[in-house]
Symmetry: C2
Amino acid sequence: MKRLSILGSTGSIGTSTLDVVEAFPELFVVEALAAGGNIDRLAAQIERHRPRFVCVKDDEIAAALRARVGAGPEIAVGPSGLVQAATLDGVDLVVSALVGARGLPPTHAALELGRDVALANKEALVVAGRHMTDCARSAGAEILPVDSEHNALHQCLRGERIEEVRNLWLTASGGPFRGRSAEELVRVDAQQALQHPTWSMGAKITIDSATLMNKGLEVIEAHWLFALPPERIRVVVHPQSIVHSMIELIDGSFKAQLGVTDMRHPIQYALSWPERLSTAMPPFDPVAVGRLDFEAPDVALFPCLRLAYEALEAGGAAPAALNAANEVAVESFLAAGIGFLDIPAAIEAVLERHAGDRAESLEAVLEVDAAARRTAAHWLEQRVGG
Amino acid sequence: MKRLSILGSTGSIGTSTLDVVEAFPELFVVEALAAGGNIDRLAAQIERHRPRFVCVKDDEIAAALRARVGAGPEIAVGPSGLVQAATLDGVDLVVSALVGARGLPPTHAALELGRDVALANKEALVVAGRHMTDCARSAGAEILPVDSEHNALHQCLRGERIEEVRNLWLTASGGPFRGRSAEELVRVDAQQALQHPTWSMGAKITIDSATLMNKGLEVIEAHWLFALPPERIRVVVHPQSIVHSMIELIDGSFKAQLGVTDMRHPIQYALSWPERLSTAMPPFDPVAVGRLDFEAPDVALFPCLRLAYEALEAGGAAPAALNAANEVAVESFLAAGIGFLDIPAAIEAVLERHAGDRAESLEAVLEVDAAARRTAAHWLEQRVGG
């Protein structure tokens, strides 16, 4: 019986995690749930899984939730409540699926205790990769990536030595604008960018997929997870999203992980690791899929990927600044404030300003994050005004 | 320093093995070479690698070789010489690359000593799979498959438990007649069948690839190597021969091994296992390859694959009879004695006759092999005569 604390339980990853838990009631038990303000869904999850600890955004939501669920779980609030949920006694695995910087402190706290973390919170590695992985290593905790690409790499690396790996190959769907011209990209709007060809995801991540920033952030994450330098983390466009990623070994052999595009697969892998569990989910069928394509990413047309490599090379807090600028720019694009090609322009401007910022502690990184957001907002104001 | 005995050193696998040895002179040393009658090539290999033991076909060849190489290696002959080469003191790894049944006794002798074997001799597993794998298991020897498909499976299975594998997926190029009609196949001749689309191999194995018997034999080999029942060893046609094979795990995840079609890759893997060695050979380039296709094999049109499954299900000496009948039939096809579709017909007739034959010892299996050859020759005589 594995005891879970699920941070971000009402989001897409959180609900899929609970689907997996429900498929194996004899193997997993939910000790803690943390969510923001989706009381209806959270109340239903509490009803079903009877956690002993719950964390919500603030006191108001806590009171409303208490009225709904009656006696039962302890209910905590805010950042300190998240850390409590991550460090609760007797928890074996923390599912870190909060969105944004608020996922960092509880993830770090769990790793510090030597607790395995199923990691879906991108910021933990993009913004604070060194701190998270240093912490995991010294505490003997395993970071189990939930993202399908890094999960694929984790699977491919089983039984291999990282010293015998020549390159990691992250696959990218290429997004909805693969093959478009620069002239066309100037005019695309949020609605077009939200049509992702293979995965059904939230708005922010779908835009990141359209700009290829999603892949850029994954390069940064892969760097921290697997300790390979940026130039040995390659990106290849693979429109079908069936090959989730590949490793290239020093002897020229490639190993790939393949599967259907359903997040319950990598989630289940992370939950059950080091074991695998038999599932009734429909498997990948090579004959039905029929064809897998690969092509080079167009870095000239999608500069976000280049900017991510540059931020990783620059080191320090540059990836944090990149991520913050991207969030602000994507938000503005979704609100129809700026154009699609303004997203990389905004990021480039912010990176120039914050290139030398240091990242000596988690707190320092979070300060750069905030400062980069201000810089980005300022740049965007001028852009939209001008 | 790994000390090698190479059985079948002048054939295609043998010479590729020596290419790998020459690329890593500080890691491998050749202790023994065994070959048939290609004195020129063998003399050159002796000159270069200075083995202390050599085995050739017979006394005549031995005398001619002695005249060429002067003093130097001990020269033995025939079946007993092969066993001596396989069991020579101080050898760490035996490369078993003889063609046909004569490879069985030395391979078995090496495994009995607990010696790791890089196995390219198909018959060892097709004809005597149970004996070889039982022997390897009880002596603690590792069988390292050199065949690209089984080598791929061996790589995919690193870090995985066989109990967590749902299916093995062998890829098949589909051969030169993929997509042809039954009417066309009646008329094809040996010259057409020898045009293999992706691998450059000997005539016998190229015909086996055209009939899909090659894949049928590989199903049998995979059964013995990895101990999965026939219905969990699947075949998928993959014309590019880049995905060398795949495993499907119980959680729905697939792992594939990919690479260029160069036998030096699986040979090097087998030689260096459990380590991997950095190679300067040009690697697989996903972008240059661009596209990978998969389709179901046409078992109605290529009945050899079905016959192999049936022989494996029948058990006992049926796979030995299948293999013997196939060899005789292919030889007749190559000599323009019978038509392409007579190959499976001959095998089916032989299998009916030898379905119940037992396989309790290596000797018993070899007797069935000989008897099946006589049955096949008799069937073919009647066919050609009629």
